[in-house]
Structures are given as structure tokens and as C-alpha cells.
Amino acid sequence: MTSPKQSFAVKLYGYIVRLYPRQYREEFGEEMEYVFSRSLDDAAASGGRFATQRLWFRTILDSMTSLIRQHYEYREGAIAMQPKNNDILAHNKVFMYLVLAVLGVLLVPLIAMQFSEDVDWSLFDFVIMGGLLMGLGTAFVIAARVFRRNRLLIGIALGLFLLYVWAELAVGIFSNFGS
């Protein structure tokens, strides 16, 4: 039986799948979500929370590399694609740069952890921060295309929101989420 958390996780992975090139997504998207869903079931059954965290960490890394590769291959014309006018998430190299940028940001605490005990991120922290950065980055790209004249304002608003969420998760301002 799939728990609400697992259903949410599969839905979350579905948003990652939507970042792939459209033709690739149409052919393999459903299968990718099925594989992830079954892997999630296996992780939950075998190792509980830590196994699930490891699965998410591996899945995010896997998604980052395969997203870059698939967008590159499709851009090079490996397969002819005709994106629809309203499919704003497909075939856009800015998402490749976004993935690279998020990876670069996450490397900072990862490297810092090797030299300082003051920096102590768990797998879950990496997953949450990676998801947060990808989500806000994607939101900015989409919103900036719709509201072209207010890009700076949108960027500032999302940046402040990121800082607030980060502070909330780190120390807790208005809630008890902070550690």
C-alpha cells in the first residue's frame, strides 16, 4: 500500500520528469515514474527513512546528469523534435544551466563538510535544499517569461522567500521546523 508521503514523493519526481525533453518525456516519462515508485516501495520496506533519503539523493544526482545529457542529445538533433508553443518547460537550455547551478551550490556545503565540523548536512538536508533551489529556480524561469517586465522584482521576491525558508528550516523563526 502506498502511503500519502510516498504518493507525494512520486508526484514530486513527476515534476522532475517534466523537465526532460518533450519527446523523451512522452516515451519514457510514465515508465520512469513507475521505476521510481517501485524503488521507493523497496526503500521504505527495506531500510525505512534513511534508505528513502539515500534513494532521493541518488535520484537527484541521476536526474541532474541525465537531464543535461538528454537536453544535449536532443539539441544536437539526435532525435527531431517539434515542441508545442505552450510547452514552456521543454527544450530550453536554461534548465540545464539551472541544474548545473544547483549542483554547484550544493557542492559548497559538501566540500565544506570535509574541512569543518561546523558544517554538518545530512542527506535529507541536501535533498531539501536541492529541491528548494530547483523549485524556486524553475518558478523564476516560468514567471520571468510570463511577466517579462517584472523579472527583477520576481527575482528579489523569490530570493527573499528562499532566505526566509532557509532561516526557518535552520533556526525556526515563526515555526518549530528549525534545528
Binding site: F28, M32, S39, R58, T65, S66, Q70
Partner: protein, 112 residues
């Protein structure tokens, strides 16, 4: 035929050597065959499947579950896998002749 197979592609072909499978089954078989060394995420798995479909090494076939996509080796895929296994066999035989297996601490239990 000179087809260069990545590690993932080799194990995927190996998993399809016996019977057709869908993606999740392929993923599980690859992990089992590689003793846990290779864990394919959905992105890597289907990226490899896509490339092998384009290369004609595998093809989509009907399966037991109509909701899933099943894949099987083509003749070209069988030949590519056989050539790769032959290459591995030659490499191990060479290592044996040069006594490299003992030098690196490998103990071959079964002669080829």
C-alpha cells in the same frame, strides 16, 4: 561490428539475454548481476534504453503487463553482447597467462 558498450549498457543487454523485461525488472537484474555495484536510476536507465533502441541493439516487445514497456535483444544486440563477453574472456585469459590475477589478489575459482 564495432559497438562500444558502456558498463550500464552491457549489464542491460546481459539482463535481456534470457528473456524480455520492463524497466524496473531490468534495473533489479542489473543490480543483482553487478552485486550491487551498479544501481541504475530512472534517468540513466531510460537514457541507455533510448540509445540502445536507436542503435538497434534492443526493441520494444509486448509483455505480460500491458501497462509496461518491455524490451528484448535484437540479433544485433545478441551479437554485440557476445562480442563483449568474448572480449572479457580474452582479457581474463591474458591476465591469467601473465599471472596478474594472483598479483592483484584475485582468485579465479572456475577456469574459463
Amino acid at each position: 561490428m564495432d559497438i562500444s558498450l558502456s558498463n550500464s549498457e552491457f549489464y542491460i543487454l546481459l539482463s535481456l539475454a534470457i528473456r524480455s523485461r520492463h524497466g524496473y525488472e531490468i534495473m533489479g537484474q542489473v543490480e543483482q548481476d553487478s552485486h550491487g555495484r551498479i544501481r541504475l536510476g530512472p534517468g540513466t536507465l531510460y537514457g541507455s534504453i533510448k540509445r540502445m533502441l536507436e542503435s538497434g541493439l534492443i526493441e520494444e516487445v509486448p509483455g505480460d503487463n500491458p501497462r509496461r514497456k518491455y524490451y528484448a535483444l535484437t540479433e544485433k544486440g545478441r551479437t554485440a553482447l557476445a562480442l563483449e563477453l568474448e572480449r572479457y574472456k580474452d582479457t581474463v585469459q591474458l591476465a591469467r597467462r601473465e599471472n596478474l590475477l594472483d598479483s592483484f589478489g584475485f582468485f579465479a575459482a572456475t577456469p574459463l
